[in-house]
Assembly symmetry: C2
Homo-oligomer: 339 residues x 2
Amino acid sequence: MRRITVLSGGMGGARFLKGLLHGIREGTLPGVAGDAEVTVVANTADDIWVHGLKVCPDLDTVMYTLGDGIDPERGWGRRDESWSVKDELAAYGVEPTWFGLGDRDVATHLVRTQMLDAGYPLSQVTEALCRRWLSPRFGTALRLLPMTDDRVETHVAVRDPDLSRSPSGRRVVHFQEYWIKLRAAVPAEAVVVVGLDEATPGPGVIDAITDADLVVLPPSNPVVSVGTILGVPRVREAVTATAAPVVGLSPIIGGTHVRGMAEQLLTSIGVEVSAAGVGLHYGARSAGGVLDAWLVDSQDAGDLDRLHETGLAAAAVPLLMTDDAATAAMAGAAIRLVT
Amino acid sequence: MRRITVLSGGMGGARFLKGLLHGIREGTLPGVAGDAEVTVVANTADDIWVHGLKVCPDLDTVMYTLGDGIDPERGWGRRDESWSVKDELAAYGVEPTWFGLGDRDVATHLVRTQMLDAGYPLSQVTEALCRRWLSPRFGTALRLLPMTDDRVETHVAVRDPDLSRSPSGRRVVHFQEYWIKLRAAVPAEAVVVVGLDEATPGPGVIDAITDADLVVLPPSNPVVSVGTILGVPRVREAVTATAAPVVGLSPIIGGTHVRGMAEQLLTSIGVEVSAAGVGLHYGARSAGGVLDAWLVDSQDAGDLDRLHETGLAAAAVPLLMTDDAATAAMAGAAIRLVT
């Protein structure tokens, strides 16, 4: 197989992609050509306008991670980052103060914002930014596509006991506020993705799924990352219809997420927080879902029977992305499930 | 006298203002009340949009200098500045790379740009920014007013021998490009202030001149700082008509500027580069000009006769702004000329 398309969120997706590309380079992926081309369809629903800047956390996390500009400890933002802009904005007393706007990172947002203001769609802006980060390293073997050029924003309805502020006992906040400011520590009652139903898939997105030899759902958040990508009109249909096998890797290990807030958000949409729960939520293509196969962690081997029953190919292997080789082995195991 | 209005550019004007405020605080200025109020009408014609940010060099230099945020060595931008944003923009290959956009400084421009985008006029934006820098220090004793809320931009026509780029042998560049990128080292043939004729004085500007007890032209650039302020429709008329005395201090000492590019620009508009030349360029109010008095440096004492002949009060004192006390002494000498 030569054309691999990955529907990715931020941190989990980016680490998976790094391992996948490592596996391609090292030739350790079964049946995958050495000149395989990877297309990343990235979530843009957690994008946010902050201090007049357009910030695309998932696009940037993928771009910085694969372009070797990421801070490896935090897993987001730039390596060797400084925070003068953020501190100074706080000194002016302007909100929000909780968003992690690093100085190096600001340059990316300035270039993006200025291009958007000049009328370029996000897909072309992303291509321009990737000319610095990805092209010198991967040439045409790696493309990063926003799921849509339209403005789509995930909001979360949270319980708010402060009735003076929220007479309904409920408040709707941007996903970033829920995640960063509230640390996903308040009960999430619903996820509302503003603009999703009216969005158009970004240029190349549908073709990348339709023409793929393999489609992968990496261990990204099933609700606010992969879920929103699949929610863009025509994307889910393209995944169910593609001739390529579709394989996913569970972001839930031993009943919880490794990093992030998938547990809270799965609960809010009524999905069982388990490897099987997420696999069944995506569902087998033979039963109207999007998956042919679902890879779970070794400690969730007990979930395999339930998955097999619904017509999914499934296996259990170690799923911790400790380094590129381990991640490439995960990718290899996923590919083996559908070949 | 209680109400002092100063028509200021950036560095020279800001240093003068710092000394003036020092003199008020120390009670060393003849006839000036301890609770005197200073209104600064600042040049905005060298403002520039850069990387999508609205930068107002003169407003910021005055604000940072008086608010103790300035870099004292450079005389512009923030103290303890870092340059990550600038370096990263250059790494993306976006122009201009020559503009000095410091990380701390960027926050000011982000706040300003976002407020302008939200529809606030520059005067209100400036007031908001000054709430951090000036209000805590000076209360209502100091106001900073942009000369206009309208977009006005100084451009310079420079000789360009590269005929492949400039078939006319001439090129028109933004003032900042002339000053920072070209270092004022190419012949300037004309100064064109785009938008000046259609500009409206900013809120409070005309009243600040009309109701003043003293109007001061500090040693700022006579062409691209004080010259553009006076060029805003109704401002020159207000200066010629005010009941307050108008006194200026020469930015030319011993036949050249102390810092900046006044010499080149005076030459380009056909004004003699001397203390007398600039004084006569402004002219005596009794003869249709804007000045009652003109203070020159001791080494330009030979210019006094020519100034007196045109009806100007004039004197020669040391004009180097080496520290606040020396600058306050200059201000005192200027005031003595008109009282």
